[in-house]
Symmetry: D2
Amino acid sequence: MSHHRSLAIFLITCPDRRGIVASVSTFFFERGFNIVHCQQHTDPLEGRFFMRILIDIGATPYARGQLSEEFEELARAFAMEWSAHFTSDTTRIAVLASKEPHCLFDLLCRAHGEELTGAQVALVISNHPDLEATAAQFKVPFFFCPVESSSRRSQEREITRLLAQHHVQVAVLARYMQILSSEMLDETPLPIINIHHAFLPAFQGAGPYRRAWERGVKMIGATAHYVTAALDEGPIIEQDVERVTHEESAEALQKRGRDIERVVLARAVQAHLEHRVITHANRTIVFSPGI
Amino acid sequence: MSHHRSLAIFLITCPDRRGIVASVSTFFFERGFNIVHCQQHTDPLEGRFFMRILIDIGATPYARGQLSEEFEELARAFAMEWSAHFTSDTTRIAVLASKEPHCLFDLLCRAHGEELTGAQVALVISNHPDLEATAAQFKVPFFFCPVESSSRRSQEREITRLLAQHHVQVAVLARYMQILSSEMLDETPLPIINIHHAFLPAFQGAGPYRRAWERGVKMIGATAHYVTAALDEGPIIEQDVERVTHEESAEALQKRGRDIERVVLARAVQAHLEHRVITHANRTIVFSPGI
Amino acid sequence: MSHHRSLAIFLITCPDRRGIVASVSTFFFERGFNIVHCQQHTDPLEGRFFMRILIDIGATPYARGQLSEEFEELARAFAMEWSAHFTSDTTRIAVLASKEPHCLFDLLCRAHGEELTGAQVALVISNHPDLEATAAQFKVPFFFCPVESSSRRSQEREITRLLAQHHVQVAVLARYMQILSSEMLDETPLPIINIHHAFLPAFQGAGPYRRAWERGVKMIGATAHYVTAALDEGPIIEQDVERVTHEESAEALQKRGRDIERVVLARAVQAHLEHRVITHANRTIVFSPGI
Amino acid sequence: MSHHRSLAIFLITCPDRRGIVASVSTFFFERGFNIVHCQQHTDPLEGRFFMRILIDIGATPYARGQLSEEFEELARAFAMEWSAHFTSDTTRIAVLASKEPHCLFDLLCRAHGEELTGAQVALVISNHPDLEATAAQFKVPFFFCPVESSSRRSQEREITRLLAQHHVQVAVLARYMQILSSEMLDETPLPIINIHHAFLPAFQGAGPYRRAWERGVKMIGATAHYVTAALDEGPIIEQDVERVTHEESAEALQKRGRDIERVVLARAVQAHLEHRVITHANRTIVFSPGI
C-alpha cells in the first residue's frame, strides 16, 4: 500500500440491504473525496454486507473528527459497525515469543526493513530469557515474564499491564507456546494474532508436526488466526502449506515448517496492519491488498 | 455463480475520475435493482477505472433494451466502454483441437457435467480426424478442416465460416497447435482463448517441455491467454505451475503438464463465461468469482 | 514411465540392517540385469528399510518364475516382504461411483487417452443409475447395485462378486459416497483407493465443504488414501490444496474442489499403477515417478 | 539432516553402466560402514549416472585419507567424478549484498538460528555501505567494496582476495545487483549462488518485476542458480512462485517477491550445504533432503 498519499481506510459491516454502496460512495463523493480503492462483500447466507474503502484525505479540509461525526450519521441509518484508520498513523505491535527465534527474527527484520506497513515493534515479551539478545540486536525493549503454573494469572496480568503501558494496538504470538486464559483475553482489549504450526483445523493443540508425521500427511501447513478463548479455534486470517514426502521425519517437518510459519504469520500481521480484515461469526473477510 | 436468480452483469471501463462508483450504484439503486456483487479496480498508472457489477433483474419490470438505453446515457457522461450480459443466456463455444485429446475431453466433460457456467459446446473443429469419435461420444458436431501450407488461408476461411454459421461467441484452442493468421483474426470478431503449454513469457513458441527440460527448470506451467496476432503474446487470463525434479524427462514433463493445461484452460474459459475478464493494454483484469 | 522397454518392478521392505542395497544390487548385477531406476528409504524410527527397483528384463533369458524363485532366497535372508510387477501386464481397475460424474469422467478420459499407465477400466459399479450413460460413452460395462440400509451387506457381496468375476486388481472409489463395511473389506482382498474431499485429517466424514466454509479456512483440499475399516483414516497416498477466499460459499468451494479431487485421485491411482507405493504402519512410502 | 551422527557424504557421477550401485554399496558394506541414505539418478538421454550416498563413519576406524584413497580405486574403474564431504566440517559462506536487506537478513537469521546446516557466515561484502549495521548486528565482519565502471576489475580482485583470505567455500549473491565478469569467475574457484527475482528463463536481466507487471503475468517467481559467465543462465537449483492479481502494481509485486526470494535462496543454499546438488550440462540434480 502506497504511503505517499494520506489515506483514510473505513471498515464497514452492516445488514445487507439495497442502497449501501450508493449511499457510502455518494457520501464521499459529495464531500470531494477521491475513492482510491473500494471492495465489498455480501454474505448471502447471513445477509450481511462488508466494505473496505480507501479515501484520499490529503487535499481536503476535513478534520478527522468532523469526518467521523458526519459518517456516523450515515452509519446509524444502516446500522453499521465501522472503524476509520489513517495511513499516517503508526501501529504499535507487541511480539510475544518463547524460545524459538525464527518468527520473532522475521518480524523484527521486516519491521526494520519497512516491510510492515506503518508499524513499529514496541516491545518483546517472553516467558524465557533466551531471546533477549535478539530483541537487543534490533534495539527493541525486552521483558522477561517467567511463568509457572502457580503464577500464571499474575504473569498474565503483568503482560496486560505492559501492553497497556506501551500503548500496544496489536499483540502477535510468535510461537509463544503458552495458552492465554480467557480472563486475560477479557482484560486485554486488543486483537491478538497467533501462528499455529499446522493447517487448522487439523492438528489443533500440541505437537502438530509429530502428529502430522504419524498420520502420514503429504503436506504440512501453518495457520494465523485471531486468538479467542477456544484454543486454536479463532477466526483464521491466513494459511499456507508445503508438500512433504515420506523421507522427512517429524524433526524435518518441524524444520521445514518454520518457513511456512514465518510467511503465514507475516502475511496475517500485514493484512491486519493494512486494515484489510473484518471478523464476523468466527470467520474473517480478508480484503485483497490492492494498490 | 448461482443460476437460481436472473442476473445482469455489467462490465465497465473508463478514465478514472471522482464519482463513478457513486453514479453507477445510484443508477441501479434508483431503479430498484439489488446489487448482488460489485468489484472495482483502478489502475493508477493508466488512470483507468474498471468495474464488474451484478444486478438482480428478476423482480423488476425493466426490459433489457430499456435498461441498456438508460445506462448508455450514464456511460456517455463518463466515456465508458461497457457491455451487459445476462445469466439466463447460453454462450456458444467452439473448441478447436488437433490430435491431443486431453483438453478437448476435459472441456466436453465439464460442459456435460454443467461445470461450464451457462455454456454449450456447439461444435468441435480439428485439422486432424483423430478426435471425431471423442466429439461423437458427447454428441457434439465435429468438423474436419485439414490444412496444408498451400491451403492455409482457405482452411481458415472455412473455420471462420463455421464459427459464424454456428453462432459461436467464443472459440477455445484446446491444444490446436496451429498459428492463426492475422487475416483470420481480423475476419473472426470473436474472443479466442488459447492454452500455451508453458509459463509465459518463458518458452514461447514450439517445444516448450523439451526446452524446459533443457533449461533445467524446477517448475513447469501453462498459460491461458486471448489470442492476438503476436504469437503467445496476447493478454494472459490464467497461469499455474507444478514442481518438477531432475528425475523427469521431457516426455514426463509433457505428460505431467497435461493436468496443468486442462485446469488452467478450464479456469480461463470459466472466467470468460462468467464475464469476469476485461482486457486493457494487453493485460487482463480478472475479477474474482464471488458468490 | 516408459513402456518401450519390458521392465520388472520389485517392491521390497524389511528390517533395516547393513548390506541390503549391496545384496540386492549384486543379485541383479550378477544375473546380467540392468538396474534402470532404484530408490530406497529407511525409516530410522521404525528401523525399517523400503526399496523400489526397476530392472530391464527385455534382454535376459530369465523366466518370471525363475527370477522370483531365486529372489525369494535372498528375500528370506533379510526377512523381506516383497512383490514383483511387470510393465507388460495390464492392471484391471473397477471404478465405484455414485451420482457425481467428475471423477469417473476424469478416470475414463485418462484411461482412454492412455494416461493411466498400463491400466484398463474393466467395469463401473454404482449405487445409482445416473452414470450408466457415462460408462457406455466409453464402452465400459456398468453395473447398477442399489443399496438400502436393509440390503447393505447383500449389495456389498454383489460388488465383491463383480470385482472377482472381472479379475479386478484395484478398486477406485470415485466419490462413491458409501462407507464400506469392515466385513466387505475383509472379503475383498484388493487395494481400494478413495478420494476424500478434504485435506485429511481435517474434516473427516460427511459434508467437508460445508464445514470448511463454516470454519473459515483459507485453503481447501482433497486426499486420496487406501481404504481401511477406520473411516477416512487409511494410509494417505496424495493430497493437494487450493487457496480460497471469503467470497466463496460452501457451494463454490464444492465446485472448486472438483478440480482438486480429480487430480489428486488420478495421481494416487497413477502412483499405485506404477507400483510406487508401499504401505507400512498406516503410512505410505510413495517413490518418485522417475524416468 | 541430523547432526548427531558423524556422516560422510559422497557425491558421484559417471557414465552409466551395469554394476555401479552393486559396486559402490558393496564397497561400503565390506568395510563395515552403514549406508544411512542413498539416492541415485540415471539420465537416460546422456547415459549418465549420479549418486549421493551417506555413510555413518562414527563407529569405524577409517581415517578420511584412507577411505578416500580406497574409494579412488573404485572410482577410476567407473571413470567417476566424485567428492566426499563430512558433516562434522563447517562450511564458510560469504554473502555479497547491495542495498536491499531482506535476503542478507534472512541468511544471517538462519545462520544464527542454526537453520543453515553446518555453515557459518564468515563475512559480508557489499558495494554499498548501507548494510554495515546489519552485519554488525550479527557480529559478522563487513567489507565495503565500492565499484565504479572504471574500477570494476580492481573491485572484483579485492573481492576475490577477501574470499580467499577468509577461506570461503561458497559465495551467495543475496540481491548483489552486480554482474560478475567472466574474468572474476575464472579467478574465483568457488561455487557462487545467485537469487534472480523472476521465474527464469522468463524476465532474465534487469527490472523483472516491472516487466512481469507489463506482461500481465498471474504468478511471479524467483530462481536460485549457480553463477556462470552467461547472465542468469547458470544451472537452476530452486524456483518458486506466488499467485498475483491485476490489483498489484509493479511495486507491490516487488514487495511480495521478497518472500519468494528469501525462501528460494535459503533453500538453494541449504541444498548446497547439505551436498545435495550435482551440476551436469548446465542442469542440476538436486537430491531430496532425506532423514
